[in-house]
């Protein structure tokens, strides 16, 4: 039997090791993107699965974290299943509370925040830009890489997101005054 045997490559990080270390951060950013625990877990899981499928590329990327972040944002933005469908499922348990629609309502710390409740109402792309910029603290160039768009597009998306948030809290303040 004549064949050659390849050498085993050196020290590529093991997927299991990477997944275990990346999970907490991935889950946190997924929560910020999705706004609830169930979807955050789904998104983080799907991202890890995608990373697994492309592990040869991920493990050899200059910045594996950036590579995986790109996967995560793409999965989030391109989710095929409408979120409403998930809410149609009848379960044994009451649905998980969604982020409060109104700031300042009674509840946990999240409910007392000014802007967080309104982030849920942003379109996915704007929400992704907000999370990447103000939580991940990425540069516009890095965000553009993650989203596969131009820096100009990042700037305009961020601008629209901030305007929407500003309008939301302004409207809320206005409603509060009327009440």
């Amino acid at each position: 039997m004549a064949f050659t045997t390849t050498k085993q490559a050196q020290a590529a990080p093991a997927y299991e090791e990477y997944a275990a270390s990346a999970w907490p951060a991935l889950y946190r950013s997924s929560y910020l993107l999705t706004g609830n625990h169930a979807d955050a877990e789904d998104l983080a899981q799907q991202t890890l699965l995608q990373a697994f499928r492309s592990w040869a590329k991920v493990s050899r990327a200059d910045e594996p974290a950036a590579y995986v972040r790109r996967m995560q944002t793409n999965i989030f933005i391109s989710q095929r299943r409408p979120r409403a469908r998930r809410l149609e499922l009848l379960t044994d348990e009451p649905p998980e509370p969604r982020p409060a629609l109104r700031a300042g309502s009674a509840g946990g710390p999240e409910d007392r925040m000014v802007l967080w409740p309104h982030i849920a109402s942003l379109p996915p792309r704007q929400r992704a830009v907000v999370v990447l910029r103000y939580y991940e603290q990425l540069s516009e160039r890095e965000i553009a890489d993650a989203l596969g768009c131009s820096t100009g597009n990042v700037k305009s998306t961020a601008h629209r997101a901030l305007n929407a948030l500003r309008a939301a809290i302004g409207s809320e303040a206005h409603q509060g005054e009327e009440a």
């Binding site: 004549a2 997927y15 946190r28 789904d42 899981q45 697994f52 379960t91 000014v114």
Partner: protein, 499 residues
């Protein structure tokens, strides 16, 4: 320069993230969910078109806020309601109904079973034991060679790989399935043992990159058949010791740890796995145990028949399980009342739709068949009529095996000591069966040449790996006579040459 709004935004996002209780990293559900009643038993049915009750029994909890844990959930299940939004149009993928194969709405001549199809390319076997394939722009054509184990189709339908044993030894090869496609060329794996410890060596998978994975009880190799520079073979005994590779899927290989003797995923939890270009083996997430596993073309969903549902003489299964590959609710897809899914008849039509054949249950007379289309995202199925046969029924052409093919089937059953695997046990009487098992002595074997003995019967030779002490050149033979059984032949006598 940042504004006050941006400062508040950054602060709140960090407060939310820092305040989270991160749940443990989950795997996929690994055990069979709770047994649920059959659909004919009373169910509380809501007025909704589709009622899905309960959530999947995950190994992990989604409650991370300190609230009480819910009772262990049951899998979601479709009800008796029929979702009329599910199409009843003719299938877009090849399918088999009552041994009739349909491709693009046309019946393909012959009697068929064992159909696989991915992305329009199909691979199936006729009841005479020959293997055929076809696809977009490719008419049905026979795969030349002799096979102990089925050829294998890659998840993307681009490659078919097989082990040809016509030369007496096992030679691994394959070809691309595009119109005008080419063979894999000179195989570096052209002289493998046909059997190891009495078990036929097999191609366990061919990947979307054209990597052919060959395994026996001692052999475990990956042939990089599409390697641009030179034939490259990786010995998995080094890269993935004890891993038994079961199949390729759109999201990676499926493996089980064979160190405890596991050879399938019925008792041992399987995992996804990857072998990268350098031959490094990476173990991925766990999957649930199964008898059969099919992952949707886009890699979004897995469909399985749970472990223990397809063994023995099972002619139909009442339900299938589906769940997102990334984890999530498991759906139970029930066959309509009075019908069962024909084993191994299901295939993905797209990333959310499964097509299967149904067979009537609990009724007298000839078997009745229908088609069914299930939407895994809805957990619902809708059946519809199967096309009528073009006059070629199973009974018309039973007995179309050659004497050689008949004896080969018998010897294969003998070698694996699995008489139940025969299409018709009447093909060999008890005495001859016991004698053949004794000849095989736990080793491998195969049918050799047959010749007409002048009386309409056939004298055939058998190659058994095991030979009696002191008689290494023993010649075994069998006499086959025409018979009215599924093969058309019966093994009427077996013996040792010169005895």
């Amino acid at each position: 320069m940042t504004t006050e709004l941006e400062n508040v935004l950054a602060r709140e996002l960090h407060e939310v993230a820092d305040g989270l209780r991160v749940p443990p990293m989950p795997g996929l559900p690994a055990d069979a969910p709770t047994k649920r009643p059959r659909p004919w038993q009373p169910l509380v049915v809501a007025a909704a078109v589709v009622l899905i009750a309960g959530v999947v029994a995950l190994l992990f909890s989604r409650q991370d806020d300190g609230s009480p844990q819910p009772a262990p959930p049951a899998p979601s299940r479709a009800t008796e309601s029929v979702d009329t939004t599910i199409s009843t149009a003719m299938p877009t993928v090849p399918f088999v109904v009552d041994r009739r194969l349909y491709v693009d709405g046309e019946q393909v001549p012959g009697e068929w079973w064992g159909l696989q199809s991915h992305w329009g390319v199909w691979l199936a076997t006729r009841f005479d034991g020959s293997w055929w394939w076809g696809g977009p722009g490719v008419e049905a054509q026979r795969i030349e060679g002799q096979f102990d184990q089925p050829p294998v189709l890659s998840p993307n339908g681009s490659y078919i790989a097989y082990i040809d044993v016509s030369g007496g030894r096992a030679s691994v090869n394959g070809f691309t399935t595009e119109p005008g496609g080419e063979g894999f060329g000179l195989s570096p794996l052209d002289d493998l043992p046909r059997y190891e410890d009495g078990v036929a060596i097999r191609v366990s998978a061919v990947t979307d990159d054209g990597d052919v994975i060959v395994q026996g009880t001692r052999t475990s190799l990956v042939w990089r058949a599409q390697h641009p520079a030179e034939p490259t073979v990786i010995d998995l005994a080094d890269a993935a010791p004890d891993q038994v590779l079961l199949q390729a899927t759109p999201v990676g290989l499926v493996v089980v740890d064979g160190s405890g003797g596991a050879v399938d995923a019925t008792d041992t939890e399987p995992h996804l796995a990857l072998i990268d270009w350098d031959g490094n083996f990476s173990l991925g997430p766990a999957l649930p145990t199964y008898d059969t596993l099919d992952i949707s073309p886009g890699g979004g969903w897995l469909l399985r028949s749970p472990a223990g549902t397809l063994g023995g003489e099972v002619t139909a299964v009442g339900s299938l399980r589906a769940q997102p590959v990334g984890g999530g609710d498991e759906m139970v897809l029930d066959a309509p009342d009075g019908w069962g899914f024909v084993p191994l008849s299901w295939s993905w039509e797209d990333d959310e739709t499964v097509l299967a054949t149904l067979v009537g249950q609990g009724r007298a007379g000839p078997a009745e068949f229908r088609l069914v289309r299930c939407r895994v995202d809805l957990g619902a199925c809708r059946d519809f009529p199967a096309p009528e046969g073009a006059g070629e029924t199973a009974r018309d052409t039973l007995g179309s095996f050659t004497a050689e093919a008949t004896l080969d089937a018998v010897v294969r059953a003998v070698v694996s000591d699995d008489r139940a695997s025969l299409l018709d046990p009447a093909v060999v009487a008890d005495g001859e069966w016991d004698q053949l098992v004794a000849f095989a002595a736990g080793g491998g074997g195969s049918a050799s040449t047959c010749r007409d003995n002048g009386s309409g019967n056939k004298d055939c030779e058998i190659d058994f790996d095991a030979a009696p002490e002191g008689a290494p050149a023993t010649v075994y033979y069998a006499i086959l006579e025409p018979a009215d059984n599924a093969y058309g032949w019966r093994v009427s006598y077996v013996g040792i040459g010169g005895a």
